[in-house]
Symmetry: C5
Subunit: 357 residues, 5 copies
């Protein structure tokens, strides 16, 4: 459920540790620069190409995908005066989402959740550095991300984004992360609603597995989303001068969405706890029903079987007049059936009075 | 359990998204204007008709029912200087109840709960904008609402309402929402009380379903009511100048009612958790009772059946004197019955000592 | 469990609503006036008689029992300048205990708990208005109350009460309410202690009912007592000038008692949760024991019964030498018994090794 | 579990109520006076003897054991200017541990826990009055107490105690109370650790009882210890001038110990909740195992028994060639056994595939 | 689970108590002195050798391993002006991790966790005294510790450590302690993940034991880690002047790691609670399945066995025409089999409708 990527205990802090599963592909670095009137996109191969692009009058979004090449990271870190501890956190992805102020930067760790398979959530760490006129983002994976719509908004100049500063860009990125969690919760919630009926009717092992998976997914989403509230809260009362007053109202909106997500997660957790109770009760109830049938049939026939057994005994009537004289009675056999009827009827009466049938 | 109406992740904030299930009917817009001496009601078809009605000396309640026509919403939004994010929240109805201050407005999201079917609560979002001399409300559904009694109070001039400002009107609307929750809780509570006896006596699947439904309803009511306490708290310590001092005591009353509702919800939740325990115990207990009967009958007759089986064997007494000499005894058969009696009696004694009968 | 007496949603606040079960009897109004040297008791029939009695130099305790006559209540309300919302709360008895400051009054809602039947707690709302030189109390029921001992203390002039102001009288009334909760908790606690042993030995339906009732009673007491802590806390830091410095130490004492009650309630709740676990475990354990006996007897005799069945078969030895030659063996029958012995012994050995016997 | 000693509701506060079980023996009053150079012990019979002993230059520890004589208590109370409410609390032993400042006194209620029997904790209330140069303690029981070692330290002059003021003496007494709780917790913890293995192997009624007792004991210790943290916290930030600066570090130490105790209690409570789960699971598991054996044996032999029953039927082969021709087959009997083998084998195969054997 | 090493209640505080299991070996004392340019390591045998080494211009790390010799501890304590209560806490190892400011020292109690056996965590107390230019550490055990990598960093002069003050050294030590907890949690987490599948498929006693062990380990780690957050928080807002501004950012990093650990522990605890539910449900489900087979086979064959028993009875057809005329029917035997078929088929139909097969 959790990925572990800790350095060896006792090693120096801020040691950059190459992640094992990072692959050898070089990172993809794209720079998207814009102001109210212009917008320029560049993909660069060497970090040296970066510096000439960083025109002070524009907002720059430097997006780094893939963390396999530590040297490149170190160069970027130096270029933007990033504290080594923060750079270490970019690589060390067991990070809990958080926000940390540095001298003229805000460092935000967020995480992008998506379904890897129907019962497995993958989370990819997203590290955001917000500076005066740039946003620097690091993603673990190369390739598609959640942010194509934001790029289109920048390219087209629609909406607020081109009119605002770098803080609004950071907000837009975080907002996309939060918004991406709604469909995930919807999927989990739909699954729980299906389970509601299924568990009542058919409390089998597969449904138990699905319920447990839903609980685990909720736990995971909760772990990732909960700290975001703190992040937005912290951004709203920011005193670093990086967050403009006009962005506050957007951040508050995002804060509300996070609160709403947390609220829904807690409700779903409550619901799934209730479903577990329903499951257990259903199993108990079914066992009870099965037992009732067994008991009914058994207790009805066991005395009769005994009686039939008795008259199947071979005590010799010839040897003694005491030995099974019933066998020679004129109405012996009909009397046997009559006895069976009486016994069954009284049993059934007993069951009815116990309300078992 | 929750409705989802989120926009695509990454789209620009404040994008107005037409809800899918909104229908094509145009919204019904009614304006109720009043001061201490006058009261006027108008239903308008076009937003342009609205402006001339908004006389500064009167209090105006503009009520919009039905959110299918985004254009109309946008026009109203512009007319009252509503922030696009707030307008978005009017349409995006997964909103958690909340209060948000804007420059010269208070934006309140509340929700109206009613029973859709005996086990399903529907919730309709109610968006309230409180301005200096107006209250603007948006309801999702066209048609009847909770507020006819308030309109009558305004029309008749009874009570405080005509003497007070727009803040009192907003209070009256929210108070009606809160008061509407009492009968809902009463229904749920009655259901739980019925279950108390039912679960003890007859812990069947249907009662389990009813208990689970009650738990889910409580969860839902709680989700909607809990944030209202924050809303009233925030209104009471309002510093926007929109809430008059005389309204404070009414808001405190409403705050108290909300606290009381929350208190009752928590008590009912506690109670329903206790009922689930009772249910499980009852099922276990009934299984136990059924088992006891089965065990009793089985263990009584199984040894006897074996004995009867023994004397039904066909070992040939003629072949050897060792072969079943009992069959030729003078009192063989009576002795068999005597043995049966002894065995049964000792079994019953054992059961009695175990306190199973 | 809760009584509901809400007005119709949307009606004007502060509407006085006659309670349905209030009866038609007029309220009993008694006035007890005292200062350090004098003490005078009057029962009045009309509210007009009240005013002449209210001598400023004395402390007055006006006690109203029975809330059936709304007109009388309104007159009293006007006489003492009671806010209509507070007066509404007097009638609307689903009130949670609370304290509310009004201009020159403190309004306290408390509740008197007593056993209606051994498993049902009744609660009667007690509304207290504390003014400069009077205490005005409203009780739902006519007749006996908890406060006769306080009246005797006033009449006799023993203790502090005649030397102190109206705040001490209000304290004395609330103290009596709190003190009355101790015997209730003692009764519940005694019931739980009895259950401790009963549940271990005999986990039947009746004990389950008693345990559930105890849990429900605790929930109810808790709901009523918990808010009292807030009431005493609020009285202790009172800034209305109504609470004298000398009364503080008594209020602190009462606050401590409330804390102690809450502490005991929580402990009992913890205990009863533990008892529910014990109950469930006991049921499971007993089912297990019953199963063990069933399994033992069944598995012992079922193979033997089969064996006896085999030798009861009628394969014709005459038709073939392969057909049941055992039946003609010299020691066939003894060998059968020997086989039975061997089978039983090995079964018993197996059970012993499984530690089932 | 709790002792109740409340006065009748409505009686005057500060009424001294003789406890029922107090016995008629007069209290034992001992005075231990010391300063850095001197140390004097006196046992007195009359309260009048007390006053001459109270030399201002020394620290006095007046210890009263046994609370049967209310008159003596009243005299002592007057001598030390004790508030009547505090004196009432000395007698009214359902007190929760607490600290209360009075004019020139600190009143502390603590409680001494000891094992009355292996599953029953007794608690004795210890009331401490800390004045400028005296500590006055009241114990419920005459005879041995926890404090002999403190007396020895005073007598011998070892350690800090003779060099410090009365506040250090009060600290030393409370420290002894806290330290006495460690062995109690150790005993409970040892019991839980024994249960860990026992519950896995043998989830019987006796172990359930032991587990429940452990939970109840933890609840009791928790109730008594928890408020001590508040006591030490309050002493550390004392502003009465009674607590010297040098004692602070000792109080902090004691505060730490209390925190540690609470921490351990909570851990043990967590552990015992886990053990209850283990217990229930173990019972369920054992029932499951027993059922498996029953099912195995029953389903193996029941079909065979039926088959044997079939060939024990007496349909007359002579009457019709259709009547049981198998009985006259040459290999009828061996075929029967072969059929039995086949049936058993396929059953066993089925069980093996279900992983039941 | 907890080690107890309390002194006898009532003994003087700050009494140094030799631990029972400490062994007689003398402590190993090593001194590592360094500044930016130099680094010197010494192992000393006598405490007297210590003083000359403590050059004011360097940072000194005095590491004491093994606490068997109280005299040595006392000498060291006097040398560094350590408060006797702090020195007592070094020996009294049930200490909860904590931080305590003394005059010119910070006293930190931490604990090193490691696996003693796969299901048992050992914890060794680490006491740290941070002074102006020294760090004094006490470890319980002689021999290897967690800190060799720190020593190597000092020796090699790599990283920040040689450039910083003693506070950084203390941070590095605590950081190593925290980092050592990650692999422990990883082990526990891996165990839980394995259990997820195992419990679904095979809910046996061994897996229950493993689950319980995991819960207990989490409880233990939590107890040790939780207070560290307070330690780092306290260090970050330190006002003793011992913690440099540059170290703050490292402490914040460590604080984050601790938060992350706590977060993971809580998630794992949640998960293991869910697994316990799964376990119980699985057991119930398996019992249910077994019961179903038993009931199926029993109810199928018991009526048939009865029928076979009937026609095995020996009522004498010769004695009366009423006695078992079926036995002489031409198609009696085939009819018997037909009846069996009908009965079985209707039973199976019933089971199918109940969805049991």
């Amino acid at each position: 459920m959790f990925r572990f990527n800790y350095h060896l205990p006792g090693t120096s802090p801020a040691t950059l540790l190459r992640r094992e599963d990072a692959g050898d592909d070089p990172p993809i670095i794209t720079v998207l620069s814009y102001d109210q009137s212009r917008c320029k996109e560049t993909q660069i191969a060497q970090t040296e190409e970066l510096l000439p692009l960083l025109d002070d009058a524009m907002i720059h979004w430097i997006n780094v995908q893939g963390l396999g090449d530590i040297e490149v990271l170190t160069e970027i870190g130096e270029l933007f005066h990033i504290h080594p501890l923060a750079l270490e956190d970019v690589l060390n992805f067991v990070q809990r989402p958080k926000i940390e102020p540095y001298d003229d930067l805000l460092f935000i760790v967020s995480s992008m959740l998506y379904f890897d398979s129907p019962e497995e959530l993958a989370s990819e760490q997203l590290s955001i550095f917000l500076g005066k006129n740039f946003v620097l983002t690091f993603q673990e994976e190369r390739g598609e991300d959640f942010f194509e719509r934001i790029r289109n908004r920048i390219r087209s100049g629609r909406g607020f984004i081109r009119k605002m500063k770098s803080d609004y860009l950071a907000y837009a990125i975080l907002d996309a992360v939060i918004d991406n969690t709604f469909p995930i919760l919807e999927t989990i919630g739909d699954g729980l609603e299906e389970l509601e009926n299924a568990l009542m009717d058919k409390p089998d092992r597969q449904n138990l597995k699905r319920l447990y998976d839903a609980k685990r997914l909720l736990l995971q989403v909760r772990r990732e989303i909960w700290p975001h509230r703190e992040i937005f809260g912290s951004l709203m009362r920011d005193d670093s001068g990086l967050v403009q007053h006009e962005t506050q109202v957007f951040l508050r909106d995002c804060y509300d969405h996070t609160t709403q997500l947390i609220d829904m997660i807690e409700s779903y957790r409550d619901l799934s706890a209730g479903l577990m109770d329903v499951y257990m009760s259903s199993v108990g109830m079914r066992t009870n029903e099965i037992m009732r049938v067994l008991t009914l049939v058994s207790t009805l026939f066991i005395p009769l079987t005994f009686l039939a057994g008795v008259y199947g005994m071979n005590f010799d009537p010839a040897a003694s007049p005491w030995n099974m004289p019933e066998l020679n009675l004129r109405f012996g056999y009909p009397l046997f059936w009559f006895a069976c009827l009486i016994i069954s009827a009284s049993m059934l009466l007993f069951f009815r009075r116990k309300k078992w049938i």
